[in-house]
């Protein structure tokens, strides 16, 4: 099929079928657009790069992008999930045949809610130190443990879970990866209140919950590898989703916003304020320029070390912008709540900056990664590297 034929087919199909769909407002949970998504899936547009057997059309990347651009033009959602659907990609790559048949179509249509069950209270920076255990029983596994920092667990049908299935080997080697059914006795989801007074996350208490045999992804004990591919998907999907302010335009913390706040506060003629505002805006711009350069260099085939710096840079930007906003507001920053949106923004930003500087690997872990993977500095001696995890636990 030529590009033109493909374009014509997609356009015609959209013209015949697309009548709009409800907006998705929650990032997690069952998708209100499920009916439309099922239609897209059944027509083969959901994951056009995938083989026909898996609801796709086996298109090349270039052709798939044509499909995506037709959908984008029509403002219709649902295509390109072969790039963007974390859950479906992970399942397709690693699930058992039986389970894949069941779950992939549901995931493509957004018919099931999903969540991530990775971090634990005792395993944050050191994720491989998880202690949630999955013990083999007739027909599946019994799971007991506790997970934290889970988004959407209260509306999820399945959780992508890492749990320890072998305690006699070093920590990375005894982990397995599952799709755990969430709606069962033994899974208790509680909201986790953040320092920002929001509850975007849950704690999940798992007490003798059951996972059927076929819900194992990858090999038993090979969960760390599955996790790495899932995390890579997640990174490429989520991009840089650091949020700024709470009230008003959440992503509006560009250059103009801070300058505008300084002007509003009557402090734009203050030479100290000008230096501070200039520096924060400069860091934002430098981060954008770095990203742009990284992409350009990747295209030119030269390797780019710059990509990894974004999160660390953003962490400094957010903390420093919180400080400058606070300084700009003076006593007003003592307040919070809907009647004081500028103070709310400054305080929220100051606290939520930790979402970036701690979440998804602290700044400290990030510097380790940059030092070791980008600058090729030697790793630290790892005391638990070659030790059976049960011995590490006993050594506490």
């Amino acid at each position: 099929m030529t590009d033109e034929e493909l374009k014509a087919e997609v356009t015609a199909w959209l013209a015949a079928n697309w009548r709009g769909a409800p907006q998705r407002t929650e990032r997690f949970g069952p998708d209100p657009r499920a009916e439309w998504l099922a239609k897209v899936r059944d027509a083969g547009w959901a994951a056009p790069r995938w083989p026909k057997e898996w609801y796709g059309r086996g298109l090349s990347d270039a052709q798939a992008r044509i499909v995506e651009s037709c959908f984008a033009e029509a403002k219709a959602p649902g295509t390109g999930q072969d790039r963007s659907n974390l859950w479906a990609n992970t399942a397709l790559a690693h699930a058992t045949e039986t389970f894949k048949r069941q779950i992939v179509p549901q995931l493509l249509a957004g018919e099931v809610g999903m969540c991530l069950l990775y971090s634990e209270p005792g395993a944050g920076s050191d994720l491989a130190a998880i202690r949630t255990r999955a013990d083999k029983v007739e027909g599946g596994w019994r799971v007991t443990g506790q997970k934290v920092w889970t988004s959407g667990a209260h509306i999820a049908d399945y959780g992508m879970l890492i749990a320890r299935t072998d305690w006699s080997v070093p920590k990375h080697r005894g982990i397995s990866f599952f799709f755990m059914p969430m709606r069962q006795k033994g899974v208790d989801v509680r909201p986790l209140r953040q320092i920002t007074d929001e509850t975007h996350f849950n704690e999940v208490f798992i007490d003798d919950a059951f996972i059927p045999e076929e819900n194992l992804l990858g090999n038993l004990g090979g969960g760390w590898g599955v996790l790495q591919t899932a995390l890579a998907y997640e990174r490429s999907v989520m991009g840089d989703a650091a949020r700024g302010a709470r009230s008003g335009a959440k992503e509006a913390h560009g250059d103009a916003a801070l300058l505008e706040l300084a002007r509003e506060a009557g402090k734009l003629s203050d030479p100290l304020v000008r230096q501070d505002v200039a520096q924060v805006i400069a860091w934002r711009m430098l981060n954008s320029l770095n990203t742009r350069r990284a992409k350009a260099e990747l295209k030119q085939g030269t390797s780019s070390s710059i990509m990894s710096l974004g999160k660390l840079a953003m962490s400094r930007i957010l903390h420093e912008e919180g400080r400058v906003r606070t300084e700009l507001l003076g006593p007003e920053s003592l307040l919070q709540g809907p009647d004081h949106p500028r103070a709310e923004d400054a305080n929220f930003l100051s606290l939520n900056a930790y979402f970036t500087s701690i979440g998804g690997g602290t700044d400290q872990i990030q510097r380790n990664i940059i030092g070791e993977r980008v600058l090729d500095l030697p790793r630290e001696p790892e005391v638990d590297r070659d030790v059976a995890f049960s011995a590490v636990v006993a050594g506490r």
Binding site: I195, D197, Q336, N347
Partner: protein, 361 residues
């Protein structure tokens, strides 16, 4: 305050006799014990959630220990102590996140005499102080006093929401505003351990002393805040270091990693410097020293900055656990942030500090 103006702890004959080191330690320990018992984290959270943000029963008990009347002369039923003891006690208040109206009370003690001072010392009278005119650190108060009446709004007044009496403290005099001549709007504050109110004043006032006492009251307020900050900074560092010793990742206590260990070392320098600054300001104030203004200004910004940094880095060093509401780290961060604005920000006090240096050179 003018050099000639004597403060309560100087006016009183027995006050020339400073407390011994042992007596001070005993006072501090008794406050510490009471707060450990009655101002534990659960109490702090309970008071944070309350309407008034005030634990009156605890305040009466603190008054019983002589804390409320610390700067009130013994003639007036107070303990007749001075800035050094105030600062020491405030370190405990700061460490415990106490919302007791101690800063307001210390300031009021510098302005009140007689029966009101007595009621203040007994913990029966809560007095808020609103600095006006050149002393208005908010830049937003607009109370005018004329012909025995006052009218206007005093903004961001600490403890205003529970005040029985308000003192308007301006250069031209100090005026008492009785309960029926003002109404308080409790402000929705980011730091719920330090309540503030806008006071809408409209009614008769009583002139209680001239303006020469105001600077002394403000100095005491600033010192009390500095003590609170030094105590808070040390406490947040303390529990952060405790956590770093216990919390294990990668098979090791996280405090064994240089990233954490070195942050802790830097914070120790901050917290100890803040403590030195606050205690030095207390001594200078007590001794009526020549560089008192500089010492106070130094304490103001050194303590504010140190507390913010310790509280901020403390959250980072904890990692995810400190991103939860139920962990106390953010309570300290909120308190550090509110203290860094109260009575003027660090930039203001650095400017005042260099002014003091210029005056000396």
């Amino acid at each position: 305050m003018t050099r000639a103006q004597r403060r309560p702890w100087e006016r009183d004959a027995c006050m020339t006799q400073v407390m011994t080191h042992e007596e001070r330690t005993a006072l501090r320990d008794s406050v510490r014990r009471l707060l450990a018992d009655r101002c534990a984290e659960t109490d702090v959270r309970r008071v944070m959630a309350s309407d008034t943000g005030h634990d009156d029963a605890l305040w009466r008990e603190l008054a019983g220990l002589g804390v409320a009347g610390m700067l009130v002369s013994e003639d007036n039923g107070g303990s007749g102590l001075g800035p050094v003891e105030l600062e020491l006690v405030m370190e405990e208040f700061g460490a415990a996140l106490s919302s007791a109206p101690m800063i307001s009370t210390a300031m009021a003690a510098m302005l009140l005499d007689g029966a009101r001072a007595q009621a203040l010392a007994a913990g029966e009278l809560i007095v808020a102080v609103a600095p006006l005119g050149v002393h208005d650190w908010t830049g937003q108060s607009d109370v005018r006093v004329a012909g025995g009446r006052a009218e206007g709004v005093a903004r961001f007044v600490p403890d205003g929401q529970i005040a029985d009496l308000v003192l308007l403290a301006g250069d031209d005099g100090v005026y008492a505003v009785a309960r029926d001549a003002f109404s308080a709007t409790s402000l929705p504050v980011f730091d719920r351990t330090r309540r503030l109110a806008d006071l809408h004043i409209d009614g008769p006032v009583e002139r209680i002393c001239d303006g020469s006492r105001v600077a002394g009251a403000l100095a005491v307020g600033l010192l009390a805040l500095a003590g609170d900050q030094a105590g808070g900074a040390r406490r947040v560092l303390e529990f952060t270091v405790d956590y770093a010793r216990e919390r294990r990742q990668f098979g090791r206590a996280i405090g064994s990693f240089q990233a954490i260990k070195h942050m802790a070392a830097d914070l120790l320098l901050e917290a100890e410097s803040a403590t030195s600054a606050a205690r030095n300001a207390a001594e200078q104030l007590a001794g009526d020293a020549a560089d008192r203004d500089g010492a106070l200004a130094l304490a103001a910004f050194a303590c504010a900055d140190a507390y913010v940094r310790c509280a901020k880095d403390g959250v980072q060093m904890h990692g995810g656990i400190a991103f939860t509401w139920e962990h106390p780290a953010h309570l300290y961060l909120r308190r550090a942030r509110s203290g860094a604005q109260l009575f003027g920000d660090s930039r203001h006090w650095r400017e005042r500090f260099i002014q003091a240096l210029e005056a000396q050179s």
